[in-house]
Symmetry: C2
Subunit: 337 residues, 2 copies
Amino acid sequence: FCSQAPIRATLFPGDGIGPEIAESVKEVFREAEVPIEWEEHYVSKEIDPRTQSFLTWESLESVRQNGVGLKGPMATPIGKGHRSLNLTLRKELNLYANVRPCYSLPGYKTRYDNVDLITIRENTEGEYSGLEHQVVRGVVESLKIITRQASLRVAEYAFHYAKTHGRERVSAIHKANIMQKTDGLFLKCCREVAEKYPEITYEEVVIDNCCMMLVKNPALFDVLVMPNLYGDIISDLCAGLIGGLGLTPSCNIGEGGIALAEAVHGSAPDIAGKNLANPTALLLSAVTMLRHLKLNDKADRIHDAIINTISEGKYRTADLGGTSTTTEFTKAICDHL
Amino acid sequence: FCSQAPIRATLFPGDGIGPEIAESVKEVFREAEVPIEWEEHYVSKEIDPRTQSFLTWESLESVRQNGVGLKGPMATPIGKGHRSLNLTLRKELNLYANVRPCYSLPGYKTRYDNVDLITIRENTEGEYSGLEHQVVRGVVESLKIITRQASLRVAEYAFHYAKTHGRERVSAIHKANIMQKTDGLFLKCCREVAEKYPEITYEEVVIDNCCMMLVKNPALFDVLVMPNLYGDIISDLCAGLIGGLGLTPSCNIGEGGIALAEAVHGSAPDIAGKNLANPTALLLSAVTMLRHLKLNDKADRIHDAIINTISEGKYRTADLGGTSTTTEFTKAICDHL
Ligand SMILES: CC(C)[C@H](C(=O)O)[C@@H](O)C(=O)O
Ligand SMILES: CC(C)[C@H](C(=O)O)[C@@H](O)C(=O)O
């Protein structure tokens, strides 16, 4: 009756603890009867000349075809002549906005209560241009590139996100008092977009001041939008407020509506294969993927089961002060569904 | 008997609340019989063509001659054709290291206890090069410049500081996984210097991770050294941990042993002239100036009087939840001397 052709989604289990936490997602999705069929792709052991990376052309094609994917941690192999895996994904798939929600998990106490922040990071340019060179011996330079096109689209995404998620305020984070031209252009684009959203309060906050205010009183902020590097910094800071990257989801949005959700924590090789990893960040990322697919009922159900399991406190992995294995914690979530 | 020719020091009271908090420093220094004679310089109303700035040539000469100075907040006037006052001072006086200690004030409660961090920031280059331009319409770039010379001297300063202040660890903060050449050179210089200080533990921490760890557990760090922009961000974050920029000292170190201490908070025009400002940051900065002059007894006495006044809690300015005026708070410090 309700049967529907399953939706295909790409899954990159990734390295280290990646396969274990990906298993947890698969298990929870099975239990919740999510109509998704995973197309699994692993990081290759060899560089694919078509991508200049350990990510194969096929795996990128899979995300392009499916339009949605989920990614575990990837450890970029050391050596020359290839690009970072994360950067390859962002550039090849043109993942222009990185959305990182950060909210206090009920029952998991940190120094901060009721944190509820959304960092939206420009994901393709800025300090991540990759353009660097030695001017003379002992003098090197890196280029930070800001374009009107990329700034407008991430600003547009941020305001649209705020509007459709019942958020009231967008803060553009910058250092335009020093980088007047680059960050100045970014702000100019944000202002242009802000005018189209009169119902959303718009403000501009200098990055250093933003960091000070975030640690003093995170409730001052709501949605934050910013160039690439500031987003890298602020999203980790925000994650720290609620307990760390093991607890925060992330989703990358690309041209043509592609969504690649990912756990942004590391691959934790020290505990890999030991059934000790906390799958929360990947599970919550998978939930953002479900929302992107408009599978809101499933998303809500899984989200609540995760939160309730952590908040109940009986089953917690070691990083949260518990003694549960990954599979025990996963089973507890399934029981809460 | 003990009489000595007084030491001349330059004082920039600055704008907004600057003159009031500078008055507080003068008062406390008088009471503590500090052998210093102030040479006061104000920000000019007109651009001095010799400095291209509202800072006069004479005021810069005064710091060069005296070798030490204290600076209140300066509001850079709006308009084109001149440089930011802070940047002018840093560049003209070659103030290559900015030292920002950050420690919990006993009796002033925040979410964090026992914070004790020293941020040492490269202060002359990096993202603050001022080199920016439009490549084509809608595409702008900023240049981040890292030199071996500036990196070595700030690293040297940081390790020397650690050694002479009984500190155990220096953490170099970077983003060399993305900016391999610029931040890579910075790290290379830090490593070179680290080898000369085998008694100091040396580590390298990526800036995003550093911010997450700082808000989770600041006790993981001790002395932090880093390029300009990261220093700007991290020092404000650290200030936030202990209550804000109204409570943290700062001192700029230049070639030839120049030291310019400064309050890094804003000029707070809204409360200027109302006898409401908190002089703590400028007072603590003045204490770092005394230490630079090796007037350690005076420095200790004044420092303790400030801390005891705040910790006693009877006299506090409004920003710390009290009702005292600047003069009442200053008098309380004098009484504690
Ligand atoms: C691993 C690294 C290249 C990456 C980044 O800097 O963007 C990471 O910190 C992140 O936030 O996804
Ligand atoms: C006012 C501004 C130019 C300055 C900076 O960016 O360095 C300030 O934030 C500081 O930290 O001293």
